[in-house]
C-alpha cells in the first residue's frame, strides 16, 4: 500500500511549528504531529522519524520540558510543554520566518 505524498517541510521550520503548536498547552508527540497535519489542512506532515529527535533536541536546549501523563485514550504518554525560553525562541523564529516569506513573495510577485 502506497503512502500518500505530502509536500516536505521547509528545512528548519519543524522546530518553529512544534513550538507554535505547543503555545496552547502541553501535548504528546502524536498529538503534535496530528495538530500540525490538521492545522495545515493536510498540507504538511511531520515524519515521526524526525519528530522525536527534534523534540528531544528541543528539550536539551531547554525550549521544552517533558513530563509523563495520561492520554485521552488512557495510556501513559509523554507530554511536552513550552518553556519561557521556548516561547522566546518561537518569537525569534517566527519573526525571521515572516521576513523571509515576505521577501520571497516580493521576489515572486515582481517577476
Amino acid at each position: 500500500m502506497k503512502q500518500p505524498e505530502y509536500p516536505e517541510l521547509l528545512p528548519g521550520t519543524l522546530y518553529m511549528m512544534v513550538l507554535r503548536t505547543l503555545t496552547r498547552g502541553p501535548l504528546h508527540g502524536y498529538a503534535i504531529a496530528k495538530r500540525i497535519k490538521e492545522a495545515s489542512r493536510e498540507g504538511l506532515v511531520v515524519e515521526e522519524g524526525s519528530l522525536y529527535p527534534a523534540l528531544n533536541r528541543m528539550v536539551v536546549k531547554g525550549w521544552l520540558t517533558a513530563e509523563w501523563g495520561v492520554s485521552e485514550n488512557n495510556r501513559k504518554a509523554r507530554f511536552y510543554q513550552l518553556t519561557t525560553e521556548g516561547a522566546k525562541q518561537l518569537e525569534r523564529e517566527a519573526g525571521e520566518f515572516d521576513r523571509l516569506v515576505r521577501a520571497i513573495q516580493l521576489v515572486m510577485k515582481s517577476a
Binding site: 515521526e48 522519524g49 522525536y52 528531544n56 536539551v60 504518554a77 518553556t83
Partner: protein, 883 residues
C-alpha cells in the same frame, strides 16, 4: 537557556541512559498504538491497524538512534565504549597488561623524578611579581659581588632599571628560645629589597628608607609558621637573633626564600646593620664598608623597566662602569658587568648540571627501552588479533575506527603507567628530599611534584602512547580483509626479514646494553669508592657542629669559648681526645687558597683548614714530622701544618719544617707535616692542604658553617652526643648546636653520590635487562608461532629438530648481535659523560663492556632458546595442521 545548563542536561542523560532508552521505547509504542486506535476506529482490525501504524512510523531504530544523538556528546560516548572495550581486552590478558604497565611506570616514573630535579635546579621561577624582569649583576669573572659605593652609582645612574637592590646572603644568627637555640640564615638587604624583588610582605611591611640602620627584621613565612605558630600579632614584637633584639616589621610571602634559588633564607635585616650582624666583614678592610670600593661583598639584583631588554640595560651599565673606571681606577682590572636571570641557582654546581644531563639521558633511555618493549608486545598481540580485526573490518568498522581503538588501548596502558609512575616518582622525590636535607648548608630544593611536573608526566604518557602505539596500530590494521579472515598471519611474513619488529629487538638490545654498561661502571665505581683509603680513621669519632657567630660572638670571645669547650669536653668520661675544625674533611666545601714559598710568584692552590690541638690525633690523621698545634704557641710567625702533597709541591726535595710559607701573602712558619688525607671527595687524588690555628685565626674562617667539634671516644661515639650537647648548653644556652653526627656517617655521606648513582643505575640496569629478556622472549615466541607451518614443513621434508633449532638460534643470535654492536658503539660514545662520577674505573673500562655484553647476550639467547626448542620439538604433522 545557557550553554551550561544544556551541558548539564546532556550529562544527566549520560547518568540515566538506561531509563531514558526505556522511556523512549514507551513513547514510540504510545505513538504507534494511538495511531492504531485511530485506524481501528476507521474500520481496520486491531492486528492490521497495529502493523500499518508500525509501517507508517518507519524505522524505529533510526528514530531512536537520532534521538539518542540529540543527547549525546558523540565522541565521549565512543571513547567510553573504546575504554570499556579495551578494559575487557586487557582483562583477558592480564599478564600482558601488567608487564606493559609496569615497564611504562618505571620509565615514566624515572623521567618524572628527574624532571622534578631539573625543575628544582635548572628551571626558573621565583615566587615574585614579574620574575622575568629581575636580573642580577655579575662581573665577567663570574663573581657576583659589588662594592657598596659602586652599587649606589649604578643604582643612581642606570636608568634602564626600575630600581636596584643589594644583599649580603648567609648571615647565621641564632634564634633564642628557652634552652634550645636554633641557627637561622638571614640576609642583609637594602631597604628597597622587597619592592625591587616584587615580594612585598602580605603581613606587616618591608623596610622604610629610614630603617637602613634600624634593628628591624622581616621573617620568612616558614619561620613565622614553624617558630611563631603563624601568630598575626608577631608584627611589632621584638625577637632575639644572636642575642640582639630586632623588631619584626613583616612576614615575607609564602614560599619566598630570598632571590637566590636553593638557598634558604629565614629572615632579612637592613644592610646598615652589617657591623653588628657580620662583624668579620670588616676584617682586613681598608676603610668602612659603605665607602670602600675595593670591598666587594654585595649581591646586586635589579628590576628592568617594562619592555626593556637586558641587552640595552647591559649597555647602559657598561657606560656607567666606564665612567667609574675613570673616576676610581682599579689598576688593570676594568669594571665590566653581565646581566643574568636573577633566579640562577645559587650553587651553580656544574657537577649538578652534568649529573642531571647524564640522568636525563639515562631515564630517557629507560623510557625508550620500555616503549620498545611495549611496542613489541603490542605488535605481537596485534598479530595474534588479526582475526578479530578482520571480523571487525568485515562488519563495517572503518580502519580509522580500529586504529583509534588500538590507540585508545595504548593510551590506556600509558595512562595507567603514568599513574603508577607518578606514585613511584612521589616516593623517589620524598627519598631524595630527605637525602639532601642532610647537607650542612641552608639549601632547600623544591622537589615537590607540582602541576608542572604532573603536566610533564601526562604529556609523557601521551607521547609514549604514540611512540609505542602508533606503529603497531597502523601495522596491525593494514593487512586487508581477505587474508586476515583466513588467519594465517602471512601479513606479518614481510616483517620477518628486517621489519619493524626486528628493528625493535635490535634497538632494545642496544639501549639495554648502554644502560647495563652505565650500571656496571657505577657499581664498580661504588665498590672502589667504598674501599678507598681515607688517610684518616673515622671510627668512634663524633662530630658536633655549633656556631658562635650566630650567637653573636666576636672573634676574641670565640677564642676564649674554644678553649673552655675543649677543656670541658676533654674532661668528660669516655673522651680520648677532642679538637676543633672549621669544616670537617669530605664536606665538599673547604676554602682554597694560594700557597707559596716567600718570594715566589707561582702559588699552589691548597685547601685550608682551621684546626686546634688534638684535631689530627682525634681524626687519626698521622703527623709524619714536626709537631701538633699547642695551646699556647710561641711568639713570632703564626704556625702552619702542611700535608705531604703540599710539601712536595711547594718545597720539592726540602724538609719544610721550620721554613716559612705564605698563604695569600701572609707568612706562616711550618711546624709539622701530616699524611695525605681525603679533603673534598673520595674520588680525588691527594690534594695539597694547609692547616692553621683556628683559635688564633678564627677571623679568617667566616664561611657559612660554624665550627665542628670532633671527639674520639673509647666506645661508641654516639654515646657522647648528649653529654657534649649538655656541656655546650651549659656554657651558653644561646649557642646553636645544629648538627651532631658520627664521623663514620659523615664519610658515608661522601659516598652518597656514587651510592645514589650506583643504586639508580643498578636499578635501571636491572630493569633494562629484565625488559630486554621479556621483550625478546615475547617476540621470539610469537615469531616462532607464526612460522609454525613453515617449521612443520621443514620437519616433514626431513629436517632434523637440531637443524630447526640451529636455524632459529642463528637468526635470533644475529639480531641480538647487531643490537650488541650498535649498543657498544653507543655506550662507548656516551660513557664519557659519566667520567666525573666514576671512581677508580675508566668510563671505557673494557672489563665492564665485555662483561655486560656477555651477560646481555646470555640472557637474550636464553630468551631465544626457549621458544626455539619448543618449535624444534614439534610434531611435524600437527604443526602443519596448526592453523
Amino acid at each position: 537557556m545557557s550553554l551550561k545548563s544544556e551541558l548539564l542536561n546532556r550529562l544527566s542523560y549520560l547518568l540515566r541512559r538506561g531509563q531514558f532508552d526505556r522511556e523512549l521505547d514507551e513513547e514510540i509504542e504510545f505513538h504507534i498504538e494511538t495511531r492504531a486506535d485511530e485506524l481501528e476506529a476507521g474500520g481496520l482490525v486491531r492486528a492490521e491497524a497495529l502493523a500499518r501504524a508500525r509501517r507508517e512510523f518507519g524505522s524505529g531504530a533510526r528514530a531512536k538512534e537520532e534521538t539518542r544523538a540529540a543527547w549525546q556528546f558523540g565522541w565521549v560516548e565512543d571513547l567510553a565504549r573504546d575504554v570499556r572495550y579495551c578494559g575487557r581486552a586487557f582483562r583477558r590478558s592480564p599478564g600482558f597488561a601488567a608487564a606493559a604497565i609496569v615497564s611504562l611506570a618505571l620509565g615514566i616514573g624515572a623521567n618524572t623524578t628527574v624532571f622534578s630535579l631539573v625543575k628544582a635546579i635548572l628551571l626558573g621561577g621565583l615566587p615574585v611579581r614579574a620574575p622575568a624582569r629581575l636580573v642580577s649583576l655579575h662581573q665577567p669573572s663570574g663573581a657576583a659581588r659589588l662594592s657598596y659605593p659602586d652599587y649606589e652609582d649604578y643604582r643612581r645612574q642606570v636608568t634602564s632599571f626600575e630600581d636596584v637592590a643589594a644583599a649580603y646572603p648567609a648571615v647565621p644568627r641564632s634564634l633564642n628560645a628557652q634552652d634550645d637555640a636554633e641557627r637561622l640564615w638571614g640576609q642583609l638587604v637594602t631597604t628597597n629589597y622587597f619592592p625591587v624583588l616584587g615580594a612585598e610582605p602580605p603581613l606587616g611591611r618591608g623596610f622604610t628608607t629610614e630603617e637602613f640602620h634600624s634593628a628591624v627584621v622581616v621573617i620568612s613565612d616558614s619561620i613565622w609558621k614553624r617558630r611563631f605558630g603563624a601568630d598575626r600579632g608577631i608584627v611589632g614584637r621584638t625577637i632575639r637573633l644572636g642575642g640582639q633584639g630586632y623588631v619584626v616589621v613583616g612576614v615575607a610571602p609564602p614560599r619566598f626564600s630570598g632571590h637566590i634559588r636553593g638557598l634558604v633564607t629565614d629572615f632579612w635585616i637592613p644592610l646598615g646593620l652589617h657591623e653588628q650582624a657580620v662583624p668579620q666583614l670588616q676584617q682586613g678592610a681598608r676603610g668602612r664598608l659603605e665607602q670602600d670600593r675595593n670591598q666587594r661583598w654585595l649581591y646586586v639584583t635589579a628590576r628592568l623597566k617594562e619592555g626593556l631588554s637586558p641587552a640595552s640595560a647591559e649597555a647602559a651599565l657598561q657606560a656607567v662602569a666606564g665612567r667609574l673606571d675613570e673616576a676610581y681606577p682599579r689598576g688593570r682590572e676594568k669594571r665590566r658587568l653581565r646581566l643574568e636571570a636573577a633566579d640562577a641557582l645559587a650553587m651553580g654546581l656544574p657537577q649538578a648540571k652534568s649529573l642531571l644531563s647524564t640522568l636525563m639521558v639515562v631515564v630517557a633511555l629507560v623510557l625508550l627501552v620500555a616503549c620498545a618493549n611495549v611496542a613489541n608486545l603490542l605488535l605481537a598481540r596485534a598479530a595474534a588479533r588479526q582475526q578479530e580485526f578482520g571480523i571487525r573490518l568485515a562488519i563495517g568498522a572503518g580502519r580509522s575506527r580500529l586504529v583509534r581503538q588500538l590507540l585508545t588501548e595504548s593510551l590506556f596502558l600509558s595512562m595507567a603507567g603514568a599513574l603508577l609512575g607518578a606514585v613511584l616518582a612521589w616516593l623517589a622525590t620524598n627519598t631524595l628530599g630527605r637525602l639532601q636535607s642532610s647537607v650542612p648548608y641552608p639549601i632547600a630544593l623544591d622537589l615537590t611534584l607540582d602541576g608542572r611536573v604532573l603536566l610533564f608526566t601526562a604529556a609523557l604518557a601521551i607521547v609514549t602512547a604514540l611512540v609505542f602505539g602508533l606503529a603497531p596500530a597502523l601495522k596491525g590494521t593494514r593487512a586487508g580483509l581477505s587474508f586476515a579472515l583466513k588467519g594465517d598471519g602471512s601479513g606479518f611474513a614481510a616483517l620477518r626479514r628486517f621489519g619493524l619488529k626486528n628493528s625493535l629487538v635490535v634497538a632494545q638490545v642496544a639501549l639495554s646494553l648502554v644502560l647495563l654498561v652505565a650500571s656496571g661502571l657505577f657499581l664498580r665505581s661504588l665498590r672502589n669508592a667504598a674501599s678507598v683509603p681515607l688517610g684518616m680513621d673515622p671510627k668512634d669519632v663524633l662530630l658536633v657542629s655549633f656556631d658562635p657567630r650566630a650567637a653573636g660572638y666576636t672573634n676574641e670571645r670565640a677564642e676564649v669559648l674554644f678553649g673552655r669547650v675543649l677543656e670541658g669536653v676533654r674532661a668528660l668520661p669516655h673522651v680520648r681526645s677532642a679538637g676543633l675544625v672549621d669544616t670537617p674533611p669530605l664536606s665538599l666545601a673547604p676554602n682554597a687558597v694560594g700557597v707559596s714559598q716567600p718570594g715566589e710568584r707561582a702559588a699552589v692552590l691548597a685547601d685550608i683548614y682551621g684546626v686546634t690541638s688534638q684535631y689530627f690525633g682525634t681524626l687519626g690523621i698521622g703527623l709524619t714530622r714536626g709537631r701538633d698545634f699547642a695551646r699556647s704557641e710561641p711568639a713570632g710567625l703564626p704556625a702552619a701544618i702542611v700535608n705531604e702533597a703540599l710539601a712536595e709541591r711547594v718545597f720539592p726535595g726540602v724538609d719544610p719544617v721550620g721554613h716559612t710559607v705564605n698563604w695569600e701573602g701572609m707568612p706562616h712558619q711550618v711546624i709539622g707535616i701530616t699524611r695525605n688525607a681525603k679533603s673534598r671527595t673520595l674520588a680525588e687524588k691527594p690534594r695539597p692542604q694547609i692547616f692553621v690555628s683556628l683559635e688564633k685565626e678564627y677571623s679568617y674562617f667566616w664561611g657559612m658553617a660554624g665550627v665542628v667539634l670532633s671527639v674520639k671516644s673509647d666506645g661508641a661515639a654516639t654515646g657522647l652526643a648528649e653529654p657534649v650537647r649538655g656541656l655546650l648548653r651549659e656554657m651558653d644556652p644561646a649557642l646553636p648546636v645544629y648538627e651532631v653526627e658520627t664521623m663514620a656517617d659523615h664519610v658515608d655521606r661522601a659516598l652518597l653520590l656514587p651510592r645514589v648513582c650506583g643504586a639508580l643505575f643498578g636499578v635501571f640496569g636491572g630493569i633494562a635487562l629484565a625488559l630486554a629478556a621479556v621483550g625478546l622472549y615475547g617476540v621470539m615466541s610469537y615469531s616462532v608461532r607464526q612460522r609454525t607451518r613453515e617449521i612443520g614443513i621443514r620437519l616433514a621434508i626431513g629436517a632434523r629438530p637440531g637443524d630447526v633449532l640451529r636455524m632459529l638460534v642463528r637468526q635470533g643470535a644475529w639480531l641480538v648481535g647487531v643490537g650488541l654492536v650498535i649498543g657498544l658503539g653507543l655506550a662507548y660514545s656516551v660513557s664519557r659523560v659519566a667520567t666525573a662520577f666514576l671512581y677508580g674505573v675508566s668510563a671505557r673500562d673494557g672489563l665492564t663492556f665485555a662483561g655486560v655484553s656477555v651477560l646481555l647476550f646470555g640472557v637474550a639467547m636464553a630468551a631465544v632458546l626457549l621458544p626455539a626448542r619448543r618449535a624444534a620439538g614439534m610434531d611435524a604433522v600437527r604443526s602443519i595442521r596448526y592453523e
